[in-house]
Symmetry: C2
Subunit: 85 residues, 2 copies
């Protein structure tokens, strides 16, 4: 079973309250190394059979049309998972 | 500014209603290539300066302690972003 990974992040100019909350919590817990945090989404799409160019193109379309909100989010990566189980 | 990426996914044995909802929506929109979908989280931690082994170790600890809920989620990857802006 092959997998395509789609990464979606809030656009840089969009406020990211979840990321802000995490960034605020980290120093209180002793993690002072991190200047800022942004939180996005990661999707794993399972594919039966080969990941062909057609499947990848469909994944890219699905990423833009279904998995992300193009007004506030960017699709930052659509990749084939290396470990094919 | 360097970035460390943390990927968190629901454990395989945990129900993932968000992923199920996406998997249900895709075929209705013409995307029939995907057998199943799981939705997780992606964090981008910004670091001022170099990503040393210490920073990566801190990111791994933060991923386990703050960014994921170890009862229902797995930290699947902690990586340094290639494009350092």
């Amino acid at each position: 079973m092959a997998r395509v990974i789609v990464d979606v992040m809030p656009k840089p100019e969009i406020l990211d309250p979840q990321g802000k909350a995490v960034a605020g919590a980290l120093p209180r817990l002793g993690f002072t190394q991190f200047a800022s945090v942004r939180q996005g989404k990661r999707f794993e799409l399972e594919i039966e059979g080969e990941v062909t160019e057609d499947v990848l193109a469909a994944a890219r379309s699905a990423a833009e049309q279904v998995l992300s909100n193009p007004i506030i989010e960017d699709v930052v990566a659509v990749t084939v998972a290396e470990d094919e189980k």
